[in-house]
Every structure is written in structure tokens, then in C-alpha cells.
């Protein structure tokens, strides 16, 4: 599935936005720091997956479920995430119920998702490009004026 190593990165534009929202207004985050946080997030996903997978294997299940992920958070000493995650999961479940045909259509959904994955990554690319444009615009105010 992951054909290029970049496929294992998370989209920079989104990571940058999350960082900005987490920090007080006006804090400048260096490019290097942003890249490092993004890489750290990928490693976090892998670490969490491997912990969660251990719980699934112990229970002789082949499918990772929500309980496995929550148990992984505890093991990784991110207990602070558990309560907010449980709450988010409840909201998510309610949203899923509204869609009715959940369990039966899961397979079809999967197929659909591979299609929409392409759309999504296209959107990401566009977003990243937009960010780059903005960064340039900040440096070259003159150009920005011309564009506007």
C-alpha cells in the first residue's frame, strides 16, 4: 500500500495547523521543529499500533478494536488522552448510527474509501500548495499585492 516513503508522513499543512492551535497566539514554530513533530506523530501512530496489536493478539483477535487502542494509550502512559478519547468515540458512534447500514455495508464502504482516498490526498496536496504560497507571500509582500 505504502509505495513511497512519503506516504508514511502526515500532511504538513494539517500538522502545522494543529500545532498553531495548540500553542499560544503568535508563537513562531521553526520549520525544523514542525518537521520533527510530524515525524514524531508518525512514530506515535506506529508505537500505538504495535501496543494495540499486542492486546489484540493476547485476546486472539485479528482485528484491532477501540478497546485495544485505549489500552495502548494506558500502556504508553498517555492516560490523559483516555477520557477525551472515550468521549470522542461516543460522539463518533452516534454519528455512525445515524448512517444506518453500518455493519452490512462495511465491505462496500472499504471499496468506496479507496476511491475517496485518492480524492483526499489530492485535497491535501492542494492544501499544502496553498500553504507554501502563503509562506512565499509572507516573504514577498510585493508579489502578494500583485496577486490580489
Amino acid at each position: 500500500m505504502a509505495e513511497r516513503p512519503e506516504d508514511l508522513n502526515l500532511p504538513n499543512a494539517v500538522i502545522t495547523r494543529i500545532i498553531k492551535e495548540a500553542l499560544p497566539d503568535g508563537v513562531n514554530v521553526s520549520k525544523e521543529a514542525r518537521r520533527a513533530i510530524s515525524q514524531a506523530a508518525s512514530v506515535f501512530v506506529l508505537y500505538a499500533t504495535s501496543c494495540a496489536n499486542n492486546f489484540a493478539m493476547k485476546a486472539k483477535r485479528k482485528t484491532l478494536n477501540a478497546g485495544d487502542v485505549l489500552a495502548a494509550m494506558e500502556e504508553m502512559e498517555f492516560e490523559r488522552f483516555m477520557e477525551p478519547l472515550r468521549e470522542a468515540l461516543e460522539v463518533y458512534k452516534k454519528g455512525q448510527k445515524g448512517k444506518k447500514e453500518v455493519s452490512e455495508q462495511k465491505r462496500k464502504d472499504k471499496e468506496k474509501k479507496t476511491d475517496s482516498e485518492n480524492d483526499k490526498s489530492r485535497e491535501e496536496d492542494e492544501e499544502e500548495e496553498r500553504m507554501e504560497e502563503e509562506a512565499e507571500a509572507e516573504n514577498e509582500v510585493e508579489e502578494e499585492e500583485v496577486e490580489n
Binding site: 502526515l10 500545532i19 492551535e21 495548540a22 525544523e32 501512530v45 484491532l64
Partner: protein, 121 residues
Amino acid sequence: MSHVSPDNDDQAPGSKKGLSLPISRVRLIMKSSPDVSNINQEALFLTTKATEMFVQHLALSSFNNGQGKESRSLSYSDLANAAEEMETFQFLTDILPKKILARDYLKSLEQMQEEEEAVDL
């Protein structure tokens, strides 16, 4: 420099599911882990959400413990320090190595060589 406001317009707010990061990408990373066969939707959702929280937590803790509080900046070394000093971030020490100056490195290299020579004698 100039106060650019259009920045905020572009906050394409996360999907309908209340997530900012793309689930599809997170699944790709999870699936790259060798032993993982299947992941259900809830587990995928939770991992994505947890990753967002992790990014916030890492950024904020590094900033709060970092050198840049007065200058309002977050730098790589703040992150490397957080990885080294805070227990929950220890799994990051490999990808967030502390940087040292080339001249310090050369100095310590010289020292090591001197010590070796001293031993040889």
C-alpha cells in the same frame, strides 16, 4: 511584517467526523506495521484522534519546558529536550536526537583520541 489575515480563512475545518488528520493516511501508517492485519473503524478513528492530541501535547509541553517562552518560539532543541526529559516522550529520543556543534564534537573526538594515546603509552 504585515499582518496577514487571510491565514485564518484557509482553516478547512476537519471532516464531518471531527478529525483534522486524514484517516486514510493514518490507516496507511498503521498497516505498514508488519503484524497488523485488520483495524476496525473505531480503532482507526481513535488512533487518528489520539495522534492529533499527541501533536498538541508534544508541541505545548515542548514549548512550556523550552527556551523560547520569552521569544515566543518553538525550536527543534526544545523538542529534543522534551524527548529526553519527559518520560512519556522517551520513545522519541531516536528520531529527535540532540544536536551538538561540530566544534564540540571535534573537541570530544580529540579528547577521546588523546585518552586512547595515553592508554597506549
